[in-house]
């Protein structure tokens, strides 16, 4: 069979079976919208930003009939582009890409489909594209607040910090935490450990145990799934832990004194509502303490009143601009992970 024949057969087959509708974008407020979310390889139940984003979208769709939401999970790195393409082909109004791993695939799709709206979590590299909203979080601010907690709760003047991977985005957690702790306790020693994985609880636990042996009595983790190992090590040794991303108190109510929260759900909800109202802007959307995009967790039962007061004071100072939390290695010389 020659090439012509094959293409004729394929063409005929595709005509018979019908084509997918093309994506359409209206400038005025649409009556109803479809929002699709593509997860990274962590999946929808990652107990982190994918899950948080999806829960936000689901709640939004439940209370507003004009919004339909769906997600596609990516099993491997090569699935991102295919999943994004599926939502484009299905005519979704907004495609939310879960995490910086999708940055490359998002750029390719956004450049090829300039009328398609995208939002991407935790990535600013696509900020130059008009049809991509980059959802960024001032995680250093929430980390600063839990740093204040750690700095005041420690009795040994030694605290620990466990990070999942060393990247510019992840390092923000460390800068904020160290600065927060030092702001209330100038003599404090912050031990630091890089797991180099978001799924390796065993290594994280070993790193945390090492810190505890060396005298740390409060440990904060920004290590995704690896963090379970940190919290377990703290439970086993009867010291305090601080959670991340969501209110992790439920994991160990007697150990996790509070958490640094990153409200991905608030960010995706506000972008989605914007699209429904006919408003959408590309570029960086920074979510911070000011709009509740990051915050300290409501669970603070184990904290004495003076600590809570200090946290509130720190929050005020950040909001008023009196305190600027470091966001670079130069501003935070005590951060040692690399």
């Amino acid at each position: 069979m020659n090439m012509k024949k094959i293409s004729a057969v394929i063409l005929a087959a595709s005509m018979v079976l019908g084509m997918m509708p093309m994506a359409a974008v209206a400038d005025e407020a649409p009556e109803s919208i479809k929002v699709g979310m593509v997860t990274d390889a962590g999946g929808i139940n990652d107990q982190s930003f994918n899950q948080s984003a999806w829960e936000g979208l689901e709640a939004l769709a439940e209370e507003n009939d004009a919004i339909e939401v769906n997600y596609l999970e990516s099993a491997t790195d090569a699935d991102y582009a295919a999943n994004i393409q599926t939502f484009i082909d299905e005519g979704y109004d907004l495609i939310i890409c879960g995490g910086f791993m999708l940055a490359g695939a998002t750029r390719e799709a956004a450049e090829a489909n300039p009328d398609q709206k995208f939002a991407i979590v935790d990535d600013a590299s696509n900020a130059d594209l008009e049809n991509v909203a980059c959802l960024m979080f001032s995680q250093e601010q929430a980390s600063y607040l839990v740093g204040v907690v750690a700095g005041m709760m420690t009795k040994s003047n030694k605290i620990g910090y466990v990070q999942g991977q060393v990247t510019d985005t992840m390092n923000l957690f460390g800068y904020g935490y160290i600065a927060g702790a030092q702001s209330v306790n100038p003599d404090i020693e912050v031990m630091q450990f890089n797991v180099n994985s978001f799924t390796d609880a065993a290594t994280a636990s070993a790193g945390a145990t090492d810190m505890i042996t060396n005298g740390a009595d409060v440990i904060y983790h920004a290590a995704g799934g690896s963090g379970a190992g940190v919290i377990q090590a703290c439970v086993d040794n009867d010291i305090y832990a601080i959670g991340v991303d969501t209110d992790q108190s439920y994991l160990a109510p007697e150990t996790v004194i509070t958490s640094a929260m990153k409200r991905v759900d608030i960010a995706v909800t506000s972008i989605t509502e914007g699209v429904l109202e006919g408003e959408f802007a590309g570029g960086v959307h920074q979510y911070s303490l000011e709009d509740g995009g990051v915050d300290i967790a409501p669970t603070q039962d184990l904290l004495p009143d003076d600590v809570i007061a200090a946290v509130e004071a720190a929050k005020e100072s950040i909001l008023s601009g009196d305190v600027v939390v470091p966001t670079t290695a130069e501003e935070c010389p005590d951060f040692v992970l690399e």
Partner: protein, 365 residues
């Protein structure tokens, strides 16, 4: 034979019919689970088939997804036929894909005609080495190959992550992955053709390589002395040894070829679809999918070709089940059931044997 062929005879004799039957049962079991979850079966399967067949773009996606599965399936099938169980295809795939990636990045300025063969060569060599090490450990110290292969899968996993961290290899941006390989290393079809035929953006000619490899593997197994020797060792090591075949050398050869195939699968996936290797947080499972594909293809090269396409189509189409609020895991149920029913094929033979044994005592048909 004067006896009429019964249904059991047909099923026991024809692997093809048995496989088709297993696939039907797989879809049936999937439907039962969908019904239990109160999801409209017609809508879910409709979505699945629409996602596979509705247009050339989807069809090409299925082929793109299926290509690496075919070649990893060939790798595992080859090992099955030669008596070593290559559970290490996962690691060989990863290491082959990283070898192709490093070649595609560092030698990116070479012309396509040189660079692509070099990438394939690097991947095949890396996969073969990964297989041969295991064979060497087995021959030299009698270390069980299944054990060392599972460990070598993890060594490949962490080695790949380690290499991806080198500044010359690591992504320029924030992504936790390698750089994208040079365009000269990609096996993508020309953009004009992709647009004209409405194919998926990652449509590539890797499928042709997969088909050629299928023929080559068939030829090696069925038509060469080498294949005969390897199969002989697979059937019975002692008999092969007695017949003058070097068992140790055969095991090494079988693992080298199997490893090279899995490595090539990695290269096909990388140069065709992904273009980069991410820093893994979990195993991507191509090697384990290869085991499934080999089982569905009953270890016959052309069976594996079809099974790989089947698996690729289900993986791609199944991923879209969420759009009709059906869990994508339905596909895993289907595939698991298919493998289960294929694996119990010997049961049909046994039923026939039991039925006939009173008169004829297990004569072959």
């Amino acid at each position: 034979m004067d006896k009429k062929r019964t249904l059991i005879d047909v099923i026991a004799d024809s692997k093809f019919i048995h496989t088709i039957l297993s696939i039907l049962i797989g879809f049936l079991v999937g439907a039962v689970f969908l019904a239990i979850m109160k999801i409209p079966v017609g809508e879910a399967y409709g979505m699945l088939f629409k996602s596979i067949f509705s247009n050339t773009k989807n069809l090409s996606y299925c082929i793109v997804y299926g290509t690496p599965y075919i070649v990893v399936g060939l790798s595992v099938a080859f090992s099955f036929r030669t008596g070593v169980f290559n559970i290490g295809a996962e690691g060989q795939f990863v290491i082959g894909s990283m070898a192709a990636c490093v070649t595609g990045i560092l030698l990116g300025s070479l012309p396509k005609i040189l660079l692509i063969p070099l990438c394939f060569l690097a991947a095949a060599a890396a996969g073969a080495v990964w297989g041969v090490i295991v064979g060497f450990l087995k021959n030299k110290w009698g270390i069980n190959e299944v054990l060392s292969m599972i460990m070598f899968n993890w060594i490949a996993f962490y080695l790949s992550n380690f290499i991806a961290d080198f500044p010359a290899i690591h992504n320029e941006g924030t992504a936790e992955a390698t750089r994208t390989v040079s365009d000269n290393a990609r096996t993508l079809l020309p953009a004009g053709l992709i647009e004209k035929l409405n194919l998926c953006p990652t449509a590539n000619w890797g499928i042709l390589v997969a088909i050629i490899l299928t023929v080559v593997v068939y030829f090696i197994i069925e038509k060469t002395t080498l294949g005969y020797e390897l199969k002989a060792v697979g059937f019975n090591k002692s008999a092969a040894d007695y017949g003058g075949i070097s068992v140790n050398r055969s095991i090494l050869t079988a693992l080298a070829i199997s490893g090279a195939l899995a490595g090539l699968g990695g290269a096909l996936q990388l140069l065709g679809m992904g273009g980069r290797v991410s820093i893994f947080t979990a195993q991507e499972g191509f090697g384990f999918a290869g085991i499934v594909v080999a089982l569905i293809g009953v270890s016959q090269p052309f069976g594996v070709l079809l099974a790989g396409l089947f698996y690729g189509a289900l993986t791609y189409g199944g991923g879209k089940l969420n759009l009709v609020k059906a869990p994508t895991q339905v596909v895993d149920i289907i595939v698991g059931t298919v493998v289960f029913f294929i694996a119990i094929s010997s049961v049909f033979g046994a039923i026939r044997y039991l039925k006939k044994s009173p008169q004829k005592g297990g004569s072959k048909s």
